[in-house]
């Protein structure tokens, strides 16, 4: 299926030393001596190679996040060199004051409480570059990291749940539900726009539950779930588009577009704090559930005959994916393509085993989004475009490339 050429050649070179059987020579009696250890050795080299691939994927992603992040924090109205930016990021004035870090990551209330408890100083004199980097520019990079990780993991889970490689976090109605909630908040209940992130996440969750209820008929199936997602998506999308007509000024429309295409403009520590706990929880559950995802990929019948309560596991895993998607939507709106492409890229690189795939997604997702946000913020300077537009521009051609290269795209 998603067998990369390099992998195929790797396994044949691996086997060259051992008693490699040609595809049809399955002699029931192997020469007993040494074949067991040879198999073990092969296994060891295989694991090493795949873990090596995963390690390089992780490393490369970290590098992209690092470089992208540095570019992000160095450019802007107050420009500094990359070196200055780096110095600001690692400024000991920040890192040696846990009270300050606590306030950034936990908020004034909780962080302040903690600082008071331990007698940490929170009022620290910071150099100008450090102040700009830490209070204005760094949080945006961190939000990009969290959103990227959430969307990638969410997409990976939905691809297993629906057994469809073209599934994304938004396949089960989440984006249209969130979009409708965003439009409703901005246009109809404009007094409550402070709660917009929460409403967006809730809207997505409600839409997902409606999709599940529609698909349920003594159980669900991947196909019925996807169809129900299309149905709910179509209706909600129409309502959402309809609401645009009732928007009375351009500001509201622009704000709505920014939310429905996904944007990191103006994100702050508050967004980091909003998304971080849910990201940690979703990531934890995704890692813990990776074996369940693998078994689910064997097909519903096999999973059930192995004793899996397929419906329960499927719903629980979808819940984890929705949690991740909702956390991303609440801080950045509906960023497209990340959840679709990243699991693909990672699968081509590390294989379809979810124990590795989830880890890979948690790193490649942030890399893509941090990279895309550099483009979104700086490409058309001083105008900032929504990051979702950049991910779409990158994602479309990449999918075209995949489609040309892979014959059996789609099935999982």
């Amino acid at each position: 299926m998603s067998e990369s050429p390099s992998e195929a050649s790797g396994s044949s070179s691996d086997a060259s030393g051992g008693p490699r059987a040609s595809p049809d020579a399955t002699a029931p009696t192997d020469p007993a001596g040494g074949s067991g250890t040879a198999a073990r050795d092969r296994l060891a080299s295989l694991t090493a190679r795949i873990d090596g691939t995963l390690a390089s994927v992780v490393f490369a992603s970290l590098a992209v996040v690092g470089v992208g992040g540095l570019i992000q924090v160095s450019f802007g109205t107050y420009s500094m060199t990359v070196f200055e930016a780096w110095r600001a990021v690692v400024d000991p004035a920040v890192w040696s004051h846990p009270g300050l870090l606590g306030e950034f990551f936990l908020g004034e209330t909780l962080g302040g409480l903690l600082a008071a408890q331990f007698g940490w100083a929170t009022e620290v004199e910071l150099a100008h570059p450090t102040l700009i980097v830490w209070t204005v520019r760094l949080p945006r990079v961190l939000v990009a990291v969290l959103v990227g990780a959430n969307l990638a993991i969410s997409g990976a889970i939905f691809q297993a749940v629906t057994r469809n490689e073209l599934a994304s976090p938004y396949i089960l109605g989440v984006s249209s539900g969130a979009g409708l909630a965003i439009l409703l908040t901005l246009v109809v209940f404009s007094g409550m726009s402070a709660f917009l992130p929460i409403f967006a996440a809730l809207g997505g969750t409600v839409a997902f539950l409606i999709v599940y209820a529609i698909a349920w008929k003594g159980g669900t199936s991947p196909v019925r779930l996807v169809l129900a997602g299309v149905i709910v998506g179509t209706v909600f999308q129409s309502l959402q588009t309809g609401l645009f007509f009732f928007a009375d000024d351009l500001g509201v429309v622009q704000s709505a577009i920014a939310w429905t295409t996904g944007s990191l403009t103006g994100t702050d520590w508050e967004q980091v704090r909003l998304a971080l706990p849910w990201t940690v929880i979703a990531l934890g559950f995704a890692l813990a559930g990776s074996r369940q995802l693998n078994v689910l990929l064997l097909g519903e019948r096999t999973a059930r005959s192995l004793g899996m309560s397929v419906e329960r596991v499927r719903f629980a895993l979808s819940g984890v994916a929705i949690l991740a998607a909702a956390a991303a939507i609440a801080v950045a709106g509906i960023v497209g393509f990340v959840g679709l492409i990243v699991p693909h890229v990672v699968r081509t690189l590390v294989g379809s085993d979810y124990r590795r795939l989830v880890v890979g997604c948690a790193f490649v997702g942030p890399a893509l989004l941090v990279g895309a946000d550099v483009g979104a913020r700086l490409a058309m300077d001083p105008v900032q475009i929504p990051v979702g537009i950049v991910t779409g521009l990158v994602g479309g051609p990449y999918f075209l490339y995949l489609m040309r290269r892979q014959d059996d795209l789609g099935d999982l």
Partner: protein, 296 residues
């Protein structure tokens, strides 16, 4: 297996056909006290899309420690019956009993530790290796977040060994030939380490070599680990050769039941399979079937 089936023999007296009962009594006497591992009573099976039941049977027995083959033409309900016995299909009426307990009362994981099922068509995702696949067979023995134990490793090694695919252990399943794939899937089911194994047409679409390999593994498992096997087979000649018992199905009902030598007859081939054939019932390897032409 427990010895709580004192009433099983009396139950069996209500069975489908008289000669079948006699034969099964003999067979049971020859092994041990257990009458059956799995049996079905007054079963009516259907699918949501069908009004009429697809399968209706009074009594179906899968004797403990034996290999039972389900045979019949396409659409005779043999796979449906197997699904019900594997707790994959809830009966409209009647019940399936495992070790004296209605299978509906088993938890999903608990049941999967007792009964293994290999479905007809399977596909493994992308890069999973044979070993990865076989480890999935340990699913019912592991807790939700449970790590791999020594028992899991041992069961996987044993299963791979039994299926004779040691040399394919690290090969991606998607690279294997059809026959090798089937052996890998069988190894996964073996790793489940169950007392009962249900196989749905495990030899269909395989070349002759792998057909025989598969049936040999099944035989070995049955003889060495005393695993009870029920297997749907397409090929009546194969069933006659490998099975201790044959359940012949026609139009959703059990046509006949018993050891191959009594069940596989020219009359059966004409009635059930619509084939004119001659049967050599005294051949040393079990009755051999020579099909001549379809019944006109």
């Amino acid at each position: 297996m427990s010895g709580t089936h004192s009433d099983a023999d009396t139950d069996e007296a209500n069975g489908a056909s008289a000669d079948a009962n006699g034969a099964s009594a003999d067979a049971n006497g020859a092994t041990d006290g257990d009458a059956d591992a799995l049996h079905a009573e007054d079963l009516a099976l259907g699918y949501p899309s069908t009004d009429e039941p697809v399968v209706e049977t009074d009594r179906v027995d899968v004797p403990a420690g034996e290999v039972t083959a389900l045979v019949g033409p396409n659409g005779s309900g043999k796979s449906t019956l197997l699904k019900a016995m594997a707790k994959q299909l809830d009966p409209d009426a009647g019940r399936v009993v495992l070790d004296g307990e209605n299978v509906a009362n088993y938890g999903t994981k608990e049941f999967a530790r007792e009964v293994g099922l290999l479905s007809q068509e399977n596909d493994a995702p992308g890069s999973a290796t044979v070993e990865d696949l076989v480890y999935h067979g340990r699913y019912p023995h592991r807790s939700f977040f449970g790590a791999v134990t020594g028992a899991d490793d041992a069961a996987v090694d044993r299963a791979i060994d039994l299926a004779g695919i040691d040399h394919l252990r690290d090969a991606p399943v998607s690279d294997l030939s059809g026959g090798q794939k089937q052996l890998a899937w069988i190894a996964m089911t073996l790793a489940q380490d169950t007392d009962v194994l249900l196989l749905d047409e495990p030899t269909t679409y395989l070349d002759l070599h792998h057909q025989l390999r598969v049936m040999e593994v099944v035989r070995e498992l049955n003889e060495e680990a005393d695993v009870t096997v029920a297997v749907v087979l397409h090929d009546i000649a194969q069933a006659a050769r490998f099975a201790d018992n044959i359940i012949a199905m026609r139009d959703g009902e059990v046509y006949d039941w018993g050891p191959p030598r009594t069940v596989v007859t020219e009359a059966l081939l004409a009635d059930v399979f619509d084939v004119v054939a001659s049967v050599d019932a005294d051949a040393p390897d079990g009755p051999t079937v020579h099909p001549h032409h379809p019944v006109r």
